[in-house]
C-alpha cells in the first residue's frame, strides 16, 4: 500500500461498493419506475401535476420549506405514529415521487409532514391566510409569515374575490385588500396537489377510513 496505484485501486474498490449500492442501483432501479393505471378514472397514478403546481414546486424549493417540513409517511413497521397522526393513509413509497422534480423528503419536522396536506387542508383560502400569518390560524406555530407572497392594494370599485378574509391586527386598512401574488397561488396549488390517498400496487391502503 505504499505505491500510489495500489493505494488508489484499494480506495477505489472499497468506495465503489457504496457507490454501486446507493447511487447506481437506485438510479437504475428506482429511476425507472413508471406510473400505474388508475382503475377508477382511467388516468395514471401518481397523477400528473398541473402547470401551477409545477411552478409551485420552485417556490417550495426557494423558500426552503424543506428545512422544517418533511414529505414522507414512514413505514408502519418502524413507527405507526405518522399514520396515526393522520399524516397519510399509507406509508410513502418511491413511486409517490415520480412526478416531482426534486424529492423533498426532508430530515427535520419543525412543522408537520406535508405529504398529504392537500387531503388534510383542501381549502385554498385557508392556505392563503395561513401563509400570510400562520399564527392567526394555528396559535403557537413556529412558521414565519410569508407576507412577501401577497400584495396589499387599494380596493378598485369592488373588493376582489381573491382577497383574503383577515381579521384583527392582520386586517388591512379600510379601503384596502390583501390579495395573493402568482407565486402564492402557485405554491398553494402545489400544496393542494400533495395528496397520496390512493393505493399503489406496492402500497395498498389497509384500513379504509376517512383521512383527517
Amino acid at each position: 500500500m505504499h505505491r500510489l496505484p495500489t493505494l488508489l485501486s484499494g480506495i477505489f474498490l472499497v468506495f465503489l461498493a457504496s457507490w454501486l449500492g446507493l447511487v447506481a442501483y437506485p438510479a437504475l432501479q428506482l429511476g425507472r419506475l413508471t406510473p400505474v393505471a388508475d382503475a377508477d378514472n382511467g388516468g395514471t397514478l401518481p397523477p400528473v401535476y398541473g402547470g401551477q403546481a409545477i411552478a409551485g414546486q420552485r417556490i417550495y424549493a426557494m423558500e426552503g420549506c424543506i428545512s422544517c417540513h418533511s414529505q414522507q409517511v414512514r413505514q408502519t413497521s418502524i413507527t405507526s405514529s405518522d399514520v396515526e397522526r393522520g399524516w397519510g393513509v399509507r406509508p410513502s413509497v418511491a413511486r409517490d415521487y415520480l412526478r416531482d422534480s426534486t424529492a423533498f423528503l426532508g430530515s427535520r419536522r419543525l412543522g408537520q409532514d406535508l405529504s398529504n396536506i392537500g387531503v388534510r387542508r383542501p381549502d385554498a383560502k385557508w392556505h392563503f391566510v395561513h401563509l400570510y400569518h400562520p399564527s392567526a390560524v394555528c396559535d403557537g406555530s413556529l412558521m414565519p409569515c410569508f407576507s412577501d407572497l401577497f400584495l396589499v392594494r387599494k380596493i378598485q370599485g369592488q373588493r376582489s374575490d381573491e382577497a383574503l378574509d383577515l381579521t384583527g391586527a392582520d386586517a388591512p386598512k379600510e379601503g384596502y385588500e390583501v390579495i395573493p401574488t402568482v407565486e402564492a397561488k402557485n405554491l398553494v396549488a402545489y400544496l393542494l396537489s400533495l395528496r397520496h390517498d390512493y393505493p399503489l400496487p406496492e402500497a395498498p391502503i389497509k384500513k379504509t377510513g376517512p383521512a383527517k
Binding site: H2, I11, F15, R32, P91, D100, A103, R108
Partner: protein, 485 residues
C-alpha cells in the same frame, strides 16, 4: 508550545527529503489564504446559526422579509459551515500535511523558480474561485435560487465552480504523495489520498444526479442520503483523522506502534463510511433492503470509530504536554466527539429508536456534533499547529486560544446535550397521536431558548478565533513593514 517536526523517516528513492522551512515556504500563501477565509466563513456561519436559532423562539424576529426567513437562512448557515469553513479548512490542512509528510515542496525543488510561481498563482486563483463560489452560492440561496436539495442548495453554476476549484487544489496533494521523498507511507497519508480522491467523486456524482441533470425524483432519496453520509465520513472525517494521526504522536512524542490497528481502522472506515448516511432513510420511501442496510451500517460504523479511537486515545500521554498544548487538546476532544458520534449514530439506527427520534433535534444533533465536533475540533488543532510554523514565529495569543478552546467546548457540549434531550422529548411526545403537534412545539420552547445561548457561545468562540488569526496575520504584516523600514 512544542512543534511537531515532520517528516522523520529515511527515504527509499533517489531524492532527499527537503527541510521543513522550504516546504512551508512553498505552501505558505495558499494554506494561509484557505485557513484565513475558512475562519471568516466560520464566523459568518455561526452568526447565521444564531439568528436561525433565535427564529425558533421568536418566529417574528427579523420577520416579514422573505430574504430573512428561516427556510433561507438555515441552509445558508449549514452550507457555509460545510463548504466555507469545514471543506476549506480541510483543504488547507490536507495540503500542508501532505507536503510535510512527503518531504516534498509544492512544485518540486524548483519551487522558487518560474514554474513554482505559476503553480502557486494557479492554486491561489483556485482558492479565490472557491471563495467566490461560496459567496455567490450563499447569495443565490438568499435571493431565492436554492435548488431545494439538502446540503446541495447552491445553484448548478456555483457547484461547478466549487468542483473545478477543488480539482485544481486537490490534485496537488495526490501528486505530492506520488513524488514523496520519504519511505513507507504513513496512515495519515492514506487518509489524505482517500479524502482528496473521494470528495470530487462524491460531490460530482451528487450534483450531477440531483442538481445538474436531476434524475427521476423517486431515486433521489438514497442519493441524497449517500451524499450527506459520504461527505462527512469519506471527506471531512478522513482529513480530520489524518491530522490527528500525523500530529498527535509527534506532539506527544511517542510512537503509536500499532500500525495494523491503524490500517484496519482506515479500511473499515472507507468500507462502512459510504453507507453511513442511510440512517436518514430508515422507514422512508426506499426498498426495504436499504432500510436494513442503514441499520447495519449505523451499528457497524462503531467498529472503525472504536478501532481509531483505541489506536489514538490509547497512546501514553504526558499530561504536562496535554495541558500546555492547544492542538493536542483539540485533537483529543475531536476524538471524544467522534466516539460520541458513533454511539449516537448506532442508537439512532436501531429501528425502534429511530422510529421515535427521526426528524427531531436528536438526529440533527448527530450532524452538528459531526461537523462542529469530530471534524472542526481537529481542524482547529491543525490551524493552531500550522500557522506558527508557516509564519516562522509564535503568533497566537495564548489567552485568546485558551478562551476559544473553553468556549467552543462549553457551547458545543451545551448545544448537543440540549438537542439530544429536546429531540428525545419531542420524539416521545410525537408517538402519542392524542398530543397535538402545536402542543409539542410549545414543549420544545425551553430547549430552543437554551440552544440560542449555546449558539451565542459558539459565535463568541468563532469571533475569538477570528480576532486571534487576524491579529496573527496582521502582526506579520506589521513586522514586514518594520523590517522593510
Amino acid at each position: 508550545m512544542i512543534h511537531a517536526t515532520l517528516p522523520n523517516q529515511q527515504k527509499d528513492s533517489g531524492l532527499k527529503p527537503v527541510d521543513n522551512r522550504s516546504i512551508d515556504a512553498s505552501v505558505r500563501l495558499p494554506v494561509i489564504i484557505l485557513f484565513g477565509n475558512a475562519v471568516h466563513w466560520l464566523v459568518i456561519a455561526s452568526l447565521l446559526s444564531l439568528i436561525v436559532s433565535i427564529k425558533l423562539i421568536a418566529p417574528g424576529f427579523l420577520g416579514g422579509i422573505s430574504f430573512l426567513n428561516y427556510g433561507r437562512l438555515a441552509p445558508m448557515a449549514r452550507d457555509l459551515m460545510l463548504y466555507g469553513w469545514a471543506t476549506q479548512a480541510a483543504m488547507a490542512a490536507g495540503i500542508w500535511l501532505m507536503a510535510r509528510l512527503c518531504g516534498c515542496p509544492l512544485g518540486g525543488d524548483k519551487g522558487d523558480g518560474l514554474g513554482g510561481m505559476l503553480l502557486r498563482t494557479l492554486i491561489i486563483s483556485a482558492t479565490i474561485l472557491w471563495n467566490l463560489a461560496v459567496l455567490l452560492g450563499t447569495l443565490a440561496i438568499f435571493a431565492g435560487y436554492s435548488t431545494g436539495v439538502e446540503w446541495l442548495e447552491y445553484p448548478h453554476w456555483a457547484s461547478s465552480m466549487l468542483l473545478l476549484s477543488f480539482l485544481l487544489i486537490g490534485i496537488w496533494s495526490i501528486l505530492l504523495f506520488d513524488r514523496r521523498r520519504t519511505g513507507r507511507a504513513e496512515v495519515a497519508q492514506w487518509y489524505l489520498v482517500a479524502a482528496f480522491c473521494c470528495f470530487p467523486w462524491i460531490y460530482g456524482t451528487a450534483n450531477l444526479l440531483l442538481v445538474w441533470k436531476p434524475i427521476q425524483a423517486s431515486a433521489q432519496g438514497p442519493i441524497q442520503s449517500w451524499y450527506c453520509g459520504s461527505l462527512l465520513a469519506l471527506w471531512l472525517l478522513p482529513v480530520a483523522l489524518a491530522s490527528v494521526y500525523a500530529l498527535l504522536p509527534r506532539l506527544l512524542d511517542c510512537n503509536p506502534n500499532r500500525r495494523h490497528l491503524a490500517t484496519l481502522g482506515f479500511w473499515m472506515l472507507l468500507l462502512i463510511g459510504g453507507w453511513n448516511g442511510m440512517d436518514r432513510l430508515i422507514g422512508g420511501p426506499v426498498p426495504a433492503w436499504m432500510t436494513s442496510a442503514g441499520v447495519v451500517a449505523g451499528v457497524l460504523f462503531l467498529i472503525p470509530v472504536f478501532i481509531i479511537s483505541i489506536n489514538l486515545l490509547g497512546m501514553p500521554r504526558n499530561e504536562t504536554i496535554v495541558s500546555s498544548n492547544f492542538p493536542v487538546r483539540f485533537f483529543l476532544m475531536g476524538l471524544y466527539a467522534l466516539v460520541l458520534v458513533g454511539v449516537i449514530g448506532a442508537l439512532d439506527s436501531l429501528p425502534d429508536f429511530s422510529g421515535v427520534v427521526r426528524f427531531t433535534a436528536f438526529t440533527e444533533a448527530k450532524a452538528q456534533l459531526w461537523i462542529l465536533g469530530a471534524v472542526s475540533l481537529p481542524l482547529f488543532g491543525v490551524l493552531y499547529e500550522a500557522l506558527p510554523q508557516l509564519l516562522g514565529r509564535e503568533c497566537w495569543c495564548s489567552t485568546l486560544s485558551g478562551r476559544h478552546y473553553i468556549i467552543t467546548l462549553v457551547g458545543l457540549g451545551m448545544l448537543i446535550a440540549l438537542m439530544l434531550l429536546g429531540g428525545l422529548f419531542t420524539g416521545i411526545a410525537l408517538t402519542d397521536p392524542t398530543v397535538s403537534f402545536l402542543n409539542i412545539t410549545s414543549y420544545s420552547y425551553p430547549f430552543h431558548l437554551m440552544e440560542c445561548v449555546a449558539q451565542l457561545l459558539l459565535l463568541i468562540a468563532a469571533l475569538i478565533l477570528g480576532v486571534n488569526i487576524t491579529r496573527s496575520l496582521a502582526g506579520d504584516y506589521l513586522l514586514n513593514k518594520q523590517t522593510g523600514k
